[in-house]
């Protein structure tokens, strides 16, 4: 198995979780989310890939959006925040993530991994 391909699959699943978690902190717009994912989460997200993801989350009712005329910008920005369904999904994702990381930690500890 190719390590890069495996890492890619790992990141694919993490992107949605990371976006919802960032939106739980506060309302953000697309480019802001992209920068946070790269800088704070360490996900090498390709330019522009954030928008199909946000589009789908919005269509699925997990996030809601509004256009804002920011005083510090020359153009309107589309801000996103979690919906009630999105917050509930995030709770479930957190639970699943914790269970998974605990299980992997147990496995790697038992095997004596360094």
């Amino acid at each position: 198995m190719d390590l890069q391909a495996w890492k890619s699959q790992l990141r694919k699943g993490a992107a949605e979780f990371a976006v919802l978690a960032l939106l739980q902190q506060r309302e953000r717009y697309g480019l802001e989310l992209l920068e946070c994912l790269r800088r704070d989460v360490g996900l090498e997200v390709a330019e522009g890939t954030i928008y199909p993801l946000l589009n789908r989350l919005q269509r699925d009712g997990k996030i809601v959006a509004r256009w804002v005329e920011d005083p510090d910008a020359s153009h309107p920005r589309k801000y996103y925040r979690l919906s009630g369904d999105g917050a509930a999904l995030l709770v479930e994702m957190r639970r699943a993530w914790s269970e998974h990381t605990r299980a992997m930690a147990r496995l790697t500890d038992e095997e004596g991994f360094e």
Binding site: K12, A46, E47, G48, T49, P71, S74
Partner: protein, 201 residues
């Protein structure tokens, strides 16, 4: 303090026009919203840039050609519409469009096509049994190498035992229904897997 708009490169308008055209399969409101957001993204990148033309070129290069970039939205929309509709055939149609995107997709679609083909074949068996009762059935003749469900010509049918009689009709319909449901479930999962965005540059 009023924020000055950066000078908008002509190439940006061209990109957005091509993007809008490539998003044609989407409803107009969805298309307009996407184009508006991508315009905002470009403007954000241009803000404060010493060389707006260069900033746009680099951003557009990172996004990829407008037509290819639009595909992710269009695929997503088609998948969502097919999955929401629930029809196995509508989902299969979308899956066939995606089959050319890689070997995994191709294999996945091949398996799904096989499942649906068998389901359809069973329906045909159920329909043909009352019309050709002596030729259609569940046939067994190991010495002649015949283990089959389907239509046999008179000579071959004479060599084999037919096992189910008219019971093949409800059994074939039931099996076909189960296969259709299994196929539809697998198809939905395949399409949802395909929807998960790749985030790699």
């Amino acid at each position: 303090m009023e924020h000055q708009s950066p000078a908008r490169p002509a190439a940006m308008d061209s990109y957005l026009r091509r993007l809008r055209f490539a998003l044609a399969p989407l409803p107009p409101e969805a298309r307009d919203e996407i184009v508006r957001e991508i315009r905002s993204h470009f403007m954000e990148r241009l803000d404060g840039a010493a060389d707006p033309e260069r900033a746009f070129r680099e951003t557009a290069a990172a996004m990829g050609p407008a037509e290819e970039y639009a595909r992710s939205f269009v695929d997503d929309y088609r998948i969502a519409a097919a999955v929401a509709g629930g029809s196995g055939f509508a989902m299969l149609h979308v899956a066939l469009r995606l089959a050319g995107r890689g070997i995994r997709a191709l294999l996945g679609v091949a398996v799904l096509l096989l499942v649906f083909t068998i389901a359809l074949a069973l329906v045909i068996v159920a329909l043909l049994k009352p019309i050709f009762p002596a030729h259609v059935g569940a046939w067994y003749a190991p010495e002649a190498g015949i283990v089959a469900i389907g239509f046999l010509d008179a000579r071959t049918a004479a060599q084999a035992s037919e096992l189910l009689g008219y019971w093949i009709i409800p059994i074939a319909i039931l099996a076909s229904t189960v296969l259709y449901r299994v196929g539809t479930t697998l198809l939905r999962r395949f399409l949802r897997w395909h929807q998960t965005p790749s985030v790699e540059p």
